[in-house]
């Protein structure tokens, strides 16, 4: 569904992603894990069209995304849940969601938008309760749900999530990961960037481990969860603990 070949991303002279290749098959949940500054978010920005300065190939359903601006990418079926959620705080929950369907309302698909709105509020009933409240008054977890709901309003076939667990309590993270599994069971393909490798790998099929702009490891999620290096570097177990475990 999504195939990336030899992707290099640039911020001016700096190369933040140094030739990455990866693929996402239809119906999969794929996660990209790695530390700060390893190029995961940059890759998301490149795919969603926010960062135009990249070389290589990003193919979505066989179509090259090179030169497409963010609205065109959204129209082609990819929605991004941005890092830090980036909801519109003074606007109501309803308006935030409707904005997600921005590219669809142009086609006068009112009925379709209404149906999608229902699906989204069924998925996150809390949003229905908070419908007319300014989005800024929601809790962190609710805001993340709103951001996901907003992205779903465009009826994407591929959902990109950039750090959905950021700043959230473990219970909420679990809940959100659960929702992602539900979405996958309905046929949505999902790509998650996470620092919380444990949470992401628990729902993902496969994962890629990033380090300073390159993929250093890839494999099935359970293999990565069990991998010694991943455990040491990304699952929050420090050397001593790690050594204890292996003694």
């Amino acid at each position: 569904m999504l195939r990336i070949r030899n992707l290099k991303c640039f911020y001016g002279q700096i190369m933040a992603v140094k030739g990455i290749s990866l693929s996402v098959k239809e119906g999969e949940i794929i996660t990209l894990i790695g530390a700060n500054g390893s190029g995961k978010s940059t890759l998301m920005e490149a795919v969603s069209g926010i960062l135009p300065s990249w070389t290589g190939e990003i193919l979505f359903e066989g179509k090259n995304l090179k030169g497409m601006d963010p609205p065109a990418v959204v129209k082609s079926g990819i929605s991004l849940v941005p890092e830090g959620r980036l909801i519109f705080p003074p606007m109501s929950v309803h308006d935030n969601l409707i904005l997600g369907a921005y590219t669809m309302l142009k086609k006068k698909a009112r009925e379709e938008v209404r149906e999608t709105m229902e699906t989204v509020t069924d998925l996150f009933p809390i949003l229905k309760e908070r419908f007319e409240q300014p989005a800024g008054t929601l809790s962190g977890g609710e805001q993340q749900m709103l951001a996901i709901g907003r992205a779903l309003m465009a009826r994407p076939r591929l959902l990109l999530l950039d750090e959905p667990s950021m700043g959230l309590a473990p219970l909420i993270v679990e809940k959100i990961m659960g929702v992602l599994e539900t979405l996958r069971s309905k046929g949505l393909t999902i790509l998650i960037v996470e620092q919380n490798a444990q949470a992401a790998l628990s729902v993902a099929d496969r994962g890629y481990v990033f380090e300073t702009g390159s993929v250093v490891l890839e494999g099935a999620a359970d293999e990565l969860l069990a991998d010694k290096n991943v455990k040491r570097a990304y699952l929050g177990k420090d050397y001593e603990e790690f050594d204890d475990e292996n003694r």
Partner: protein, 318 residues
């Protein structure tokens, strides 16, 4: 839905109040002040769409106001054309100039956009002052004819009052419709975060340019109305200070508020008139009033008055 209904009621009340004022006020001076309030409201509303809703500051808005005024002055006086031919030309000129200026300028953000539009405003104001053969230079442009439809001439203050406030009412309704539409949500989204707006599929560059052009067209119309009211225009009315005055109207009245434009324009038009009694101290008192409004009602008059009202209701409930 409730919000739209209250807006319709507000518009009806407003139209009734304006009509009553137009019929009942007999004092030529007050009528004239009311006409200026109307023109300033249109100006403030035009900038509020750009600044209040879309979050793009413009420190050169008087330039478009001046382009409207000078375009109609030159065409209807120098070339003896009907003002009704001059009007579309004036608006078209503002639209084209806004489009050309907007493409590079709107790529800037924050202070830099402020500086960019400031520079543009200064250039236009210098052209008005220095292009003597066309604009009449610093001494101004004299002898602009009044507007007329058929045999009816808008040469009395009362007739012009209804013309101006009719236009204002039309734009109140139009702007509210834009704000409540898909486009309005996109504008507010750009205000809150351009990246996020782009991520949901808003073409931010195109949207910013469109609202800038609309805003310029409205300011140009205000300039047109101004020129045919005072019959005499000079570069001073469209200088940097005039731009700042429009920004002040928006901020004092209330950002992202259609009625705020009315309040802000009213206060900033009336204040200098009231303060004549202070003679030499006029500007000091003027500044003091603006400071007090900003200190005690930092979100502008509209929001501030609403807050006071809501707080007092809460106290009553207790």
């Amino acid at each position: 839905m409730i919000r739209i209904d209250t807006h319709i009621i507000a518009c009806i009340v407003f139209a009734a109040a304006a009509t009553a004022a137009g019929i009942l006020i007999d004092n030529a001076y007050y009528l004239q002040v009311m006409i200026f309030i109307g023109i300033n409201t249109l100006l403030a509303l035009s900038l509020n769409m750009l600044m209040g809703y879309a979050g793009q500051i413009s420190l050169g808005h008087a330039a478009f106001y001046g382009i409207g005024a000078y375009a109609t002055a030159i065409l209807s006086t120098t070339y003896n054309l009907s003002p009704w031919i001059a009007l579309p030309v004036a608006i078209f000129a503002a639209v084209v100039i806004a489009y050309i200026v907007g493409i590079p300028t709107l790529r800037l953000t924050g202070y830099y956009l402020g500086m960019g539009t400031l520079g543009f405003g200064m250039i236009v104001s210098i052209i008005f002052r220095e292009w003597y053969s066309v604009t009449g230079g610093a001494s101004g442009f004299v002898g602009i004819p009044p507007l007329s439809i058929g045999n009816f001439v808008f040469d009395t203050d009362r007739s012009y009052f209804f013309l101006v406030w009719g236009v204002v009412l039309f734009f109140f309704i139009m702007c509210r419709r834009i704000i409540d539409s898909r486009v309005g949500r996109a504008l507010r989204a750009i205000h809150d975060g351009e990246h996020a707006a782009a991520a949901v599929g808003v073409n931010t560059a195109k949207m910013k340019l469109s609202i800038f052009v609309l805003s310029a067209a409205m300011a140009s119309l205000a300039g047109f109305l101004y020129a045919h009211q005072v019959y005499f225009i000079s570069p001073g009315s469209f200088s940097f200070l005039a731009s700042i005055r429009i920004v002040t109207m928006v901020v004092i009245g209330g950002m992202a508020s259609i009625w705020g434009s009315l309040l802000g324009a009213s206060l900033l038009t009336l204040l200098p008139e009231w303060l004549h009694t202070f003679a030499d101290y006029e500007m000091m008192v003027y500044g003091l009033v603006l400071m007090l409004v900003m200190i005690f009602l930092p979100r502008g008059l509209t929001r501030g008055i609403l807050d006071i009202y809501e707080n007092s209701r809460k106290k009553d409930d207790r």
